[in-house]
Symmetry: C2
Subunit: 240 residues, 2 copies
DNA sequence: CGAGATGTTGAGCTGACTCAACGGGAGTGG
DNA sequence: CCACTCCCGTTGAGTCAGCTCAACATCTCG
């Protein structure tokens, strides 16, 4: 149960110790990645899936004019690239944000495993659909909310997701992300990110410290964010 | 082969006449929906999947402050709600745009079918991943591009998707969408949508007529849109 | 201890918004 | 067949959130 994926999927019903064991055994072949390194690049063809064990990563796309969009944050327990089961090539890249540790799992191992443990197959599917739901909510966020609300929304989401894998304490969690990267996530300039952060700090909602974020009043932040956690499809055992 | 889903999946390899037959047989139980009606609403629990046979629909979310975001367009051949295999409740709604016709397929039929025809299972999975890829590209679009480019990008995408199911002729296809709905799709006000459309018309790129869009110069529009179709993962047999 | 990356501040600009009004077409009922 | 109405599209004018450009400060790490 040291495994963050197990932890995440355990919030689903029908998850036997057997299933959990099978999952834990996946994480033999691990290695470390330095901050800022790409795990996978656009156009790559890979024979293995990466499971993020420690640290953060992001999916992103570079545009021809030099702009960049971060499409998703990956935190411990997230699978980086289930796409390779179907697509020939990745249509986006994945990069480590802080230093990170991943397990490399051969395609075939996943296929065998899901054959043998239906609860796992269902877990992976569930997880893929949650990722999709998050992506939809990000679209809503960027398209409809102003920059302040948008950022508040992102923080609420990441807080809940970090809670789910037990990586948040008292509203504090790692957020190994520069202001520029926040901008590339939310579709605003880094300068404006800075101003929004200052406002949130001034209002006592958050504070930041060495790439850690502390949310002082989760309820207030959720209100400011128009945040409704249902899209995360967290089941049963979740905080607040 | 009268079936748009068959048409779409046929662009995948390894698709036998048997598979196609199985698909065609799904479309027995069809019915019509009037424009503007919801097929599925947030919170619904459904025992069947809807396959769109004719007309357009959209996924959307309503926000507490009355704003609305359109998350995806569904065109003939698209499955409306594969989510129900995993999630208890829909986290968004689906609405017919023009008048539409759908087939209602019981969950269990899909499950049996994919057991029996692995090529179909793979086809559905492929299709789900393409939807996800499109959703990611919409995020890029809304977050990074100005309103003109954004709209051009949407038109390019819809043109290609309509081509894929053979519903576009000479750059002309149905677009049963009001300017307000375009705004809700792209995150801009309907007034601004109007101005952008006028500019595109003035530049001779497009014209609109009774809910039909004509693209006069696809290449020029793709250039204006910074459009790179790879994210659609159209295989082999596709136009231009 | 130097240098590049990251964060902060100020000032002016602009793409898209708001508000407000008007026009035209498609359906409806008399 | 016409009048009415409602929805949709169009136009104009003023405003503002967030952008650009340009410094400067601070931090991290080799």
């Amino acid at each position: 149960m040291s495994n963050p994926l197990t932890q995440k999927l355990a919030s689903l019903a029908n998850f036997s110790p057997d299933d959990a064991d099978a999952l834990d055994r996946l994480c033999r072949n691990t290695f470390d990645i330095r901050a800022g390194r790409d795990l996978i690049r656009v156009g790559d063809r890979s024979e293995q899936v990466f499971l993020l064990l420690d640290g953060w990563a992001c999916r992103y796309k570079d545009l021809p004019d030099g702009k960049r969009q971060i499409l998703a944050y990956l935190i411990p327990g997230d699978l980086c690239d289930p796409h390779i089961f179907i697509f020939e090539e990745m249509d986006h890249s994945i990069r480590a944000l802080g230093d990170a540790r991943v397990a490399a799992i051969p395609k075939q191992v996943i296929l065998d495993l899901t054959d043998r443990y239906p609860a796992l197959a269902r877990g992976f599917w569930w997880s893929a659909l949650v990722d999709e739901a998050i992506s939809r909510e990000w679209l809503v966020n960027v398209a409809q909310r102003d920059s302040y609300t948008r950022m508040a929304h992102l923080f609420c989401e990441m807080w809940l997701r970090m809670c789910q894998v037990d990586l948040a304490r008292d509203g504090t969690f790692d957020l190994p992300v520069t202001q520029e990267q926040l901008g590339d996530t939310l579709g605003i300039t880094p300068i404006h990110v800075n101003r929004v952060l200052q406002r949130m700090r001034a209002e006592g909602l958050i504070s930041t410290n060495r790439r850690q974020l502390t949310i002082h009043d989760v309820d207030a932040l959720q209100d400011a964010a128009e945040f409704d956690p249902r899209y995360l499809h967290l089941d049963a055992r979740t905080p607040a």
